[in-house]
Each structure stands twice: as structure tokens, then as C-alpha cells.
């Protein structure tokens, strides 16, 4: 009788990304923490679990990026951090953490038996041709499959059992390693096969053609030659390193590589997906957003399907809050490199903007039903209009005149006078043009430039104005509050350096 011991996941992998999200973020963004500090910050449960986590992370990404060093501070022990340097890290090494979702050996056997069932009809060689003369009976299952393109779940169960049994039989004949005929009955039961088929259809490797019938999803690279595949791969590598969503492109690059390896034989001595980037590197390449890619993906799906989601939201105090919202728009901030989503919050009955990096444990909920689901619009409008048109309208209404991401009830006109010295006029004017958002620039001559903009929150301009130092002066008559704020900021800075008391 076959045993079922092989059902636990392999230790270094994890089931939920939430388990490593915070520690990855902390080591990349803040870095340089000792194990004691990580335990204190609740990023690791205990010193011993920290060693487990460290070993995991070392297993996930290239070890050279997780650096250990002895701090100069007294008694602080070894510290850890993820390093970043645009020339040394031209690719997003944190993306590699997504290749470590846990599985059990049953998943593995199921996947490889299944995928060898879906054979390309043009493939000439028979699967057991290399031994068929010696072991005549081996070809039987091949006749049964007969290169089918579609299978019902019941057909799949039978086929998988035949494939696995034949493999076991052959293994015994070729290597003298015996297997149990009952193993395939334990491995390929209806609930197990159905659950895994549904999973594969959900991620799009299989497609459902009719009730309980599945086929392999179509091959989008079929008409591409080897050179074209290389072009697609380079494009994927470029875009995934600089777009708001990394992982699908990272996966795609690996898929194209695997496809090329399968269809256009390439010499290799390693079979892992290796990130390559010999052509590009990236300015201000913050790697951190990839840590939230599964959340971003869940939010995008919710927007697409007009789903309500629930999740845990980490407040500034560090406490977690349960939220139920309807995501409407993904908002990507290029200033700091942070990502948000604009949503309708059912608890507050208002629109809100949420930081993606504060979200965990996302799931779709059906507990909010129409008409409550779209209570922010008239019921008739919901019936008559495409929901995404409504979303766009609602978002535009709230985000018109927003400088970056701060929404406010009132709008105001801001006037800032710039004065650039002659020697750097062209450079500074170009900088102003490339950071002006939606404002208007008027060149006045002699190094003087006026900048006017209508915004929802004056205060959101403060850091941008400060970045121009003495070159920018807020018009004290048009915007007295903003001018006073900037003035007091400079005063505070002067005190900090003890230039004034």
C-alpha cells in the first residue's frame, strides 16, 4: 500500500508571500539591522527563527546582495542589509523571491505527468520509442492518449494514472526500481486532480473549453523565430525593470527563455531561470515595489472585475486595521516611487487613497452586494453605464488639480517666482519643465521665470519648492500661508544647523 508521507512542503519555500514581505522590505529600505533589532521590531519571531529566515532569503536570491557587516557601534553585533548599486545590480534581484512558493511532491508529479500528456500533435517522436522494441507493452498508453488536445477531468485521471504507471513500470525495467501500482490511485484521485486542474486554469496554463473539459492554453510564440524570441525577451527584461508591475514580465522573460531552450536548442549547463541584463541599467531603480506585486496584481484584478476586497492595512502607528473597499484606480507616484490605490471605503462611506505597501492578506469578498456596492453613484447610472466609465469619472472628479497624490476639498492658485543665475539658467529651466506637473511656466527674461499652478493641496508642493532652494520664492500676496510655511521650514533648518537660535 502506498504511503502518503510526501505531502508536506519543502522547508525553504513558503506558502504565502506575506510571510517574508515585511522583512524583505525592511532589509531593503532600512537595512542594517541586527537580529535582535529585527526581533524587537517584530519582523522576526525569535533569534532562532531569524536564522531560518536568513537561510530562506539566501536561498531565494543571490547571496552577494544580502550583506552582513560588523557595525562600528559598540555592542551592536552583526548587521544585515540588502545592497543596492545601479552598476552592480542592473536587474531587480528581489523579483527572484517570487520563485519560491511551496509545493509538495504530489504537485510536482502531477504537473510533469500532466504536461507530458498534452503533446504537440506535430511532435513526431513517440514518448517511449527509445525502449519500445525491447518492451513492447510500453506503447499501450500512447495509443490510449492518441495525442488528444482536450480532456475531461475523468479522462485526465485515467490518462495520468496510465502515464504514471507506465513510468513506474519502465523505471523498474530500466533501473530495477520498483513502484506500487496503487500509487497512481492515491496520487490521482478526483478531488486532487480537479483542484489542481482548476488552479492551472486559473493561472492560465490550461483553459476550459466547456464544462469540465480542458486543453492547454494557446501558444502565443508559435509563429516567432529564434531571433524574434530574443527581441521579445529583451523587451520584457527592459520593461519589467522599469514598470510599476515587475513579476508578470519577470515570469515572461523566463518563459521566453524556456520556450527558446525547448524549441531552438541552446547549449547550457544550468537549467534555472537566470536574470540577465547586459544592455540596460536604470536610474532611480527602486527595487522595493516588487515586494508588493502580488497585492498590486490583486488590486488590478479587483478593478477589472469590479470586485470588493478586504485586507489588513497597517496604520502609521503600526497597528493593523481590517478594511473593506472597492478599488477604482491604481495610482503610481513617480516622485518617491510609492504606489497607491484610489478606492471607495465602505466603513467611512467615502473615497480614500491607500498605500499598497501597507496592505496584506487581500481577498475578494462578496459580502457587499448591490445596491450598496455602488452606493456612491445613482442606481440608474450603474445600470446604464459601463462601470469603468463611472470609475474614470469618479477618479477624475477627485484627482483634478491634484499635484501628486494629496486630495483636498478646496483648490487654490499658486504663484512661484523663480530666479536662476545666468550660468545655470538653461539647466534649471529644463529641470523646472521636467518637474512642473500641470503648471504653467512663463519666462520673463533676465533669469526670471514665473510658475503658476492650480492645486488641491498647496502643502503638497512644499518639498518640491524646497528642492529649488533659494531659486524659488512663493508669492507672499497670492499664497500667504504657503509662503509662511516655506519660510518657517527654512527657519527650522537654520536652527537645526545652529545658524540661528
Amino acid at each position: 500500500m502506498a504511503k502518503t508521507k510526501n505531502t508536506h512542503a519543502f522547508q525553504s519555500d513558503i506558502k504565502h508571500y506575506d510571510k517574508i514581505r515585511d522583512i524583505l522590505r525592511y532589509l531593503y529600505m532600512y537595512g542594517s539591522s541586527s537580529k535582535e533589532e529585527l526581533v524587537e521590531k517584530k519582523l522576526s519571531k525569535s533569534i532562532s527563527s531569524f536564522y531560518d529566515t536568513r537561510q530562506r532569503i539566501e536561498n531565494y536570491i543571490d547571496g552577494e546582495y544580502l550583506q552582513e557587516h560588523k557595525s562600528k557601534e559598540k555592542d551592536s553585533g552583526k548587521k544585515y542589509r540588502f545592497m543596492y548599486d545601479p552598476f552592480i545590480c542592473p536587474v531587480n534581484y528581489l523579483a527572484e523571491t517570487y520563485q519560491n512558493c511551496s509545493y509538495v511532491i504530489d504537485d510536482f508529479i502531477f504537473y510533469f505527468c500532466l504536461m507530458q500528456v498534452f503533446t504537440d500533435p506535430d511532435y513526431q517522436q513517440k514518448p517511449y520509442e527509445y525502449v519500445s522494441k525491447k518492451y513492447k507493452e510500453i506503447d499501450d498508453c500512447d495509443d490510449y492518449i492518441n495525442y488528444m488536445q482536450e480532456f475531461t477531468i475523468n479522462e485526465l485521471i485515467t490518462t495520468l494514472q496510465i502515464v504514471f504507471d507506465t513510468n513506474q513500470k519502465l523505471l523498474e525495467q530500466l533501473n530495477g526500481i520498483g513502484g506500487d501500482i496503487e500509487n497512481s490511485e492515491v496520487l490521482f484521485t478526483l478531488p486532487k486532480v480537479r483542484a489542481r486542474i482548476i488552479e492551472l486554469a486559473d493561472i492560465g496554463i490550461l483553459v476550459s473549453t466547456s464544462k469540465d473539459t480542458y486543453r492547454l492554453s494557446s501558444d502565443i510564440f508559435m509563429d516567432l523565430n529564434a531571433d524574434e524570441l530574443k527581441e521579445v525577451q529583451l523587451m520584457a527584461q527592459y520593461f519589467y525593470n522599469c514598470s510599476f508591475l515587475t513579476i508578470p514580465g519577470y515570469y515572461l522573460s523566463a518563459t521566453v527563455g524556456a520556450y527558446a531552450q525547448s524549441n531552438f536548442i541552446e547549449e547550457t549547463d544550468s537549467f534555472f531561470n537566470k536574470q540577465e541584463n547586459p544592455v540596460f541599467f536604470y536610474k532611480n531603480h527602486g527595487l522595493q515595489n516588487v515586494i508588493d506585486d502580488d497585492i498590486t496584481w490583486a488590486v488590478l484584478n479587483a478593478i477589472h472585475n469590479a470586485d470588493v476586497i478586504q485586507y489588513k492595512y497597517r496604520k502609521k502607528s503600526g497597528n493593523l486595521k481590517e478594511c473593506t473597499t472597492l478599488p477604482i484606480k491604481l495610482v503610481v507616484d513617480y516622485q518617491y516611487g510609492r504606489q497607491y490605490f484610489f478606492c471607495y471605503d465602505y466603513a467611512y462611506k467615502s473615497f480614500n487613497i491607500q498605500r499598497l505597501s501597507s496592505v496584506s492578506d487581500v481577498s475578494v469578498t462578496k459580502k457587499i452586494k448591490p445596491p450598496q456596492k455602488f452606493e456612491f453613484v445613482e442606481e440608474k447610472k450603474v445600470k446604464d453605464t459601463d462601470i469603468h466609465q463611472i470609475y474614470n469619472h469618479v477618479y477624475s472628479k477627485h484627482f483634478d488639480y491634484v499635484w501628486n497624490i494629496a486630495m483636498e476639498e478646496n483648490i487654490s492658485d499658486v504663484l512661484i517666482h523663480f530666479h536662476f543665475p545666468e550660468e545655470c539658467y538653461a539647466k534649471q529651466l529644463s529641470r523646472l519643465k521636467s518637474t512642473r506637473r500641470h503648471g504653467t511656466i512663463t519666462e520673463l527674461g533676465n533669469g526670471h521665470v514665473d510658475f503658476s499652478v492650480t492645486v488641491q493641496s498647496e502643502l503638497e508642493l512644499v518639498p518640491w519648492i524646497r528642492g529649488y532652494g533659494a531659486y524659488a520664492i512663493v508669492d507672499q500676496n497670492a499664497n500667504p500661508d504657503l509662503a509662511a510655511k516655506i519660510k518657517s521650514n527654512w527657519e527650522e533648518a537654520m536652527k537645526q544647523y545652529e545658524i540661528i537660535q
Binding site: 511532491i105 519589467y240 508578470p248 519643465k433 532652494g469 533648518a493
Partner: protein, 336 residues
């Protein structure tokens, strides 16, 4: 539909590539030991059980073998000698479809290739499930002016440069610098293309033979880009170039103190997330951040420090402290 899923585990990719390579060419097959070595990484006890199952070395009275590979002449080959089909997942297809709408995809793909992909993606039975659409996303650009315009000339120059980098060829370019000065037909060794997402611009990092130092050229300022001969001793060039870059990295970091107020920790770590930094708690609700930087990053660091305001104080080195103080004093005096 989860992005993080077991079918994307690196071991699945490994075995797929391994089986497909062996089916094509059995001389690529590895020994049992080599397979174990490549797969084990930082080996752990339970992972050993996976390796045992994969190499059919389980105690079959307790569990079962994978029966996917078998051993012949010391190497492991697929039992069912048939390739594993490689398919893009829905997330990959949706992402690719979104990317193909971006005009920068023209920099990489010929129109015919793009059309083939678009039509394959549009004919997908599941295409209605693609959840990435331009109108679902608002990218808060720093300015509407930051939009790369791809002219015919730009496209040709870009492709020539990419080809030169890939095939280790030298280039001849005419560069009109920001100052207006024109450098005619410069012979250069290309290193890599730098892309700035914030400003949607490409720059060529290269080594002009007359300047004899690493130089960055904005691609929109380049004209008459021509492919030259192969660079002799390319690896040596790469080594020397990277060494020269390394020499422009300052040994002494900029050290700043950040107060735990008004989200300053968060804003500061995000703003400096693409720098080589490390932080530690000073106590007293203050974080110390050391920023190691290349000489050409200095101005941007000072701008960022001013941007962050009085929540951040530069501690060292003295020349940066003096420069920041001078900027702050001038700005303060402008409001008096």
C-alpha cells in the same frame, strides 16, 4: 488568480528546462549528483526528500518516487521522452498585451513580430480576463513634457546602439551636449543604456576614446550613429570601465540624521532607495543614514536633502554640510 504560485517555483522551471533540453539533445543530461548539486542550494533536511523522490531514491515502503527521470550511463534522462510544453500564464499574456500598447515596444520589435503577438493575444480564449489596462492605472508623471518622442532617427539610433552593446562593437556618434557644443563623429566604446523612468529618457553610458573617461550621452542629443568594428579584448574594456566607474564612487558617505516625524523615515528611505545606503537607529527617535554615492550623484543628493526639509540634517562630510548650509541660508534670506 495568484501571482505567487507553486507552478512558478524555480524547481519546476529547472525540470522543464532539463527535460526539454534532454529530449532535444541527450548529451546535455547531468549525473544524479550534478542534478542534486544544482537543485539543492542551501539544502535543508526536508528538501532532501524532494531530491530523493526526483532521483527515484526513496524508500518505497514509506513513500513513492517521482518516476519522471531514469538513470542511463550515469546520467538522468526523462522516462517519457517528450517535451514539456512551455506556455505563458495569463498574467504574462496580460502584461505583454499592456506593454505592446506602449510605443517604446517599437524600439524592440519589428512591426511584423508585434502584429503576430498582438493577434495571438487578441485571439486568446481568456483575453477578457486580462486585468492590466491603461485606464485602470494613473501614473503620476512629474511633467507632461517627460514623454519620449520616438522619431525614425531615434529608432534607428536606438537599434544600432543596442546591437553594438550586444555584439561588443564600437560606435561613431555625433553628440550635441547640453551646453550646445557639438562633438562630431566621436569614436566610443558603448557600455550600457541607462533608462530613467521618471524622465522617460535614455542615456548611453560609454567610453569616448578622446575623453578617456566614462561619459553619459542623452540619446535624443545623438545623431549620425554608426556601427564600428568589434572591440578587441572586450572583457578587458568592461573590467577597466567598471573600475573607472568604481573610482568615481566616494569613499566617505554622506551621513544624514532623520527625525521620526511627518513620515520622514518613509519619505527619506523611498527617495534614497536607489542609492547604496545603510541605516541604523541613533536612539532618540532618530535614524542615521549613510549614503555611498558616485561623484555624479552629489547634486541630486543635495536636492533630495533640501526636498526633505528640516526633518533631515547632514552630519558629514564637511563639504556637503557647508553646501547645504549655504543653500539653506540663501533660501532663508530670500524670505526676510
Amino acid at each position: 488568480m495568484k501571482l505567487f504560485n507553486k507552478y512558478k517555483n524555480k524547481n519546476f522551471a529547472f525540470i522543464t528546462n532539463y527535460i526539454n533540453s534532454c529530449v532535444n539533445d541527450d548529451s546535455l543530461a547531468l549525473t544524479e549528483e550534478d542534478i542534486k548539486e544544482q537543485l539543492s542550494g542551501a539544502s535543508q533536511r526536508s528538501f532532501e526528500e524532494f531530491l530523493l523522490a526526483l532521483t527515484n531514491a526513496c524508500d518505497t515502503s514509506e513513500t513513492y518516487n517521482a518516476a519522471i527521470l531514469y538513470c542511463q550511463n550515469d546520467v538522468m534522462l526523462p522516462l517519457r521522452q517528450i517535451p514539456i510544453p512551455v506556455r505563458a500564464s495569463l498574467a504574462e499574456k496580460a502584461w505583454l498585451y499592456y506593454i505592446l500598447q506602449n510605443s517604446k515596444s517599437d524600439l524592440f520589435l519589428e512591426m511584423e513580430t508585434k502584429q503576430k503577438l498582438l493577434s495571438a493575444l487578441e485571439n486568446e480564449i481568456d483575453r477578457y480576463r486580462y486585468p492590466i489596462k491603461a485606464n485602470y492605472i494613473d501614473i503620476r508623471s512629474l511633467s507632461p513634457d517627460n514623454q519620449l518622442v520616438i522619431t525614425e532617427e531615434f529608432l534607428t539610433n536606438f537599434k544600432t546602439i543596442v546591437s553594438a552593446i550586444k555584439h561588443h562593437r564600437r560606435l561613431f556618434v555625433t553628440n550635441t551636449a547640453f551646453s550646445g557644443q557639438v562633438y562630431q563623429d566621436q569614436e566610443i566604446f558603448p557600455y550600457k543604456l541607462e533608462y530613467s523612468a521618471q524622465f522617460d529618457s535614455f542615456s548611453l553610458s560609454c567610453y569616448p576614446l578622446d575623453a578617456k573617461r566614462p561619459v553619459k550621452m542623452n540619446l535624443t542629443n545623438l545623431s549620425s550613429v554608426k556601427l564600428g568594428d568589434k572591440i578587441e579584448k572586450y572583457d578587458q574594456f568592461l573590467f577597466d570601465f567598471e573600475k573607472k566607474l568604481k573610482n568615481t564612487k566616494e569613499k566617505v558617505p554622506v551621513t544624514i540624521e532623520i527625525k521620526n516625524q511627518a513620515d520622514a523615515y518613509d519619505r527619506c528611505t523611498y527617495l534614497f532607495s536607489s542609492y547604496d545606503t545603510f541605516c541604523y537607529d541613533k536612539g532618540d527617535d532618530t535614524l542615521i543614514m549613510n549614503i555611498y554615492y558616485y561623484r555624479f550623484q552629489k547634486d541630486e543628493i543635495i536636492r533630495n536633502i533640501l526636498f526633505l526639509g528640516h526633518y533631515v540634517k547632514v552630519v558629514s562630510p564637511k563639504n556637503i554640510v557647508d553646501e547645504v548650509i549655504s543653500e539653506i541660508t540663501a533660501a532663508y534670506n530670500a524670505y526676510r
